[in-house]
Structure formats: structure tokens, C-alpha cells
Amino acid sequence: MKPVRKQRLAVVLFVLVGAGATAGLVMSAMQENINLFYEPAKVVNGEAPLGTVIRAGGMVVDGSVVHDDTGLGVRFTLTDYAGHDFDVVYNGILPSLFREGQGILVTGRLDDDRVFAAAEVLAKHDENYMPPELEGIAGHQSATE
């Protein structure tokens, strides 16, 4: 390689490393703002603010879903399977993927008792795709968790 080209290459690589470092620093500084939702641990530990509209997420606890006798009201518990749970109340239509064990995002407010009053419920489906008949087969089950 001719010296002039070597020099150009060095300059380009320098610019690239600089741009990468800048992007990395900006993202690590803004991590909290880029995160889309509060995980259950942050809701339980009080890191999530009370009374303002926030987004939180977790997995729906098995057996925690209680529907109202009349209307669309529903109450369920979200967990991270690591001992952090919080209750959600919601009045509206649930996404079709909503089920026990499903990852769910809720938008709304935490009240003083740390019950989450949701205005919107979104389903966060996972990266496992399989046909119905394969569900329950040991090799695929392990990939689910």
C-alpha cells in the first residue's frame, strides 16, 4: 500500500473509532432513557416514579389473572421470576397473545400502594417460534425459558 493510502486509511479508522466511542458513551449515559420499560425489580424497589405515566413490563404470573364478573376489567400480577412481583389493574381489551407466562408491557400509573393502573397492555412475544405439535417436546421446552 502506498504511504498516502496508508495515511488515509489511518485517518478513516481514527474517525470511525471516534464515532463509535461517541455513540457508545452517549448510549451508556442515556441508558435509562433508551430503556423502554421498568422491570419488576425497579417497580418493587421504588426506582419507578409514582403517579406519572410510565411503562413497566414482566411475565404474567400463572393463576394470577382475575376477570371482573361484568365488563372488561382484569387484574393480574407481573413478575421477573426472581421474587419481584407487582399487581396490574386494567379495563379494556387484552392483546390476543395475552396469557399466563407471557411477557407483557403495561403503560399507566403506579399508585401509592404500588398497584399499576394500566391504560394500555402490549404483548411482548419471545424469540421462539414453533408449530403447535412441537410444544412440550423436551428439546424445545428448554429453549422456551
Binding site: V15, L16, E120, L122, H125, E127, M130, P132
Partner: protein, 257 residues
Amino acid sequence: MGLVDWAKGAFHKTGSPRWFFLGSRRWMVGLYAAGIALIVVGSTIGLGFVPPERFQGDSFRILFVHVPAVHLAQAIYVAVAVAGLVYLVWRMKMADMVIEAAAPVGMAVTAAGLATGVVWGMPTWGTGWVWDARIISTLVLLLLFFGLLALRQAIPRPDRAAMAVSLLAVVGVVNLPIIKYSVEWFTTLHQPASLTLGERPTIAPVFLVPLALNALGYYCLAAGIVIAALRMKIIERESGTSWVADWLAGHEDRVGG
């Protein structure tokens, strides 16, 4: 040493617009044919023959369009960035033409990836769009492709425009790892990757077949389109040279001149 010489030779030949133009027609036709055939077979299997997904039902079938599109979009950006580097270091005109030919294709494919994501999100997530890190970084990719086109239009002198566009192409490569790792570094609504190099795919094998066929088909078709666009750029930019005049003379009947 033989291999190094061969690589150097190939590098310089590819850098010659004339050599590339006269030799690339067969490649273009072959890639078009392979791409269309693979996409037809892959999409038929994916949309018509594989079973529905256990939770998402039939709506997951858009995966066979969405995943190849977003992968291809990033691959095109890698190609554009490499071309940018080649232009900045070697000032090779062909590299600049590669950027000009590939950027619109990349923009279209990224837009298709985002659009299919919206369509997929509506029935599954319950929303078509959230401002999470994966979706924002993919939107940035779309804007980068758009920026490559706009920047060239904004600078009248072709050599200055080529420099600026190449620099933007190289710097924009920083966005690619952000897209890839956005779902691991941040909390997002978008699910993590199902296909990771060196790890077991989390997609059932029956779904992998049409996905692989479609992905390969998208790559072939995009390569064919980029070569076609590149051939047009070559004729346009080299229109004053004698070899273009010779070629046109030999094709007068076909061009209609």
C-alpha cells in the same frame, strides 16, 4: 503469493468500469433468476405449507418477509460502508458508483422491513410502533440510506459529493452493532434474535427452511438489482469514453438508436 496476486488482480479488474460492465450481464441475469425462483418457492412454503405458530397463529408468517428484509438491509449497509472505505482510501470511482447504486435498494429494503414490522406488531404486540431501541436504530438505518442519497444531491461537485457520501457511509456503520445489540443492551418491546451465529436457532426447523430460501432469494435479487443499477451508472458516467461508444454501436438495434 499466487493468491495475493490474484486478489490484487480481481480488485483492480472490479475497479474498472469497462471490465465490470462487459462481464456483469450474465451475473445480473443469473442473480435475478435465482432470486425470483428462491423467493417464489420459499414464500409458497412459508405462506402455504408450514403449520401456524403455536401462539401467534398465521400472523407470524410475515416473519418470512420481515426477517430476510431487515437482515438484507443491514448487509447492504455493510457493502455500502466497505465501498465508502475503498473510495476514501483508494479513490476508486467504481466504489462511489456502488454506493450510488446500492443506497436506494437499501432504503427500499429497510422501509419494507419497518413496514412489515408494523403490520406484524399490530396483531401480536397490540401496537404497530413503539419507540424502543431496536425500532429507532432501524429507523436510523433508513435515514442513513436516505442521507446518502440526499447528501449527494446537495453537493454539486461530483468528487466532493463522493467524498462526503463515502465518509457518511463509513461513519454510519456505527449504527449496525447498535441495531444488533439493541435488544440486549436495553429493554425493548422487540424480541431478541432467533438466529445467532454459533447458537442453536430458536425457530423450529420446519420454519427455518422457507426462511432460509427467502433470505437467500432476497440476497440474490438485491444483488441483481444493485448490479443492474450499477451498470446504468457506469454507462451514464462513462458516456464520453470510446468503449461506451463502441458498445452502443454494437447494440444499436437493441437500444433502438
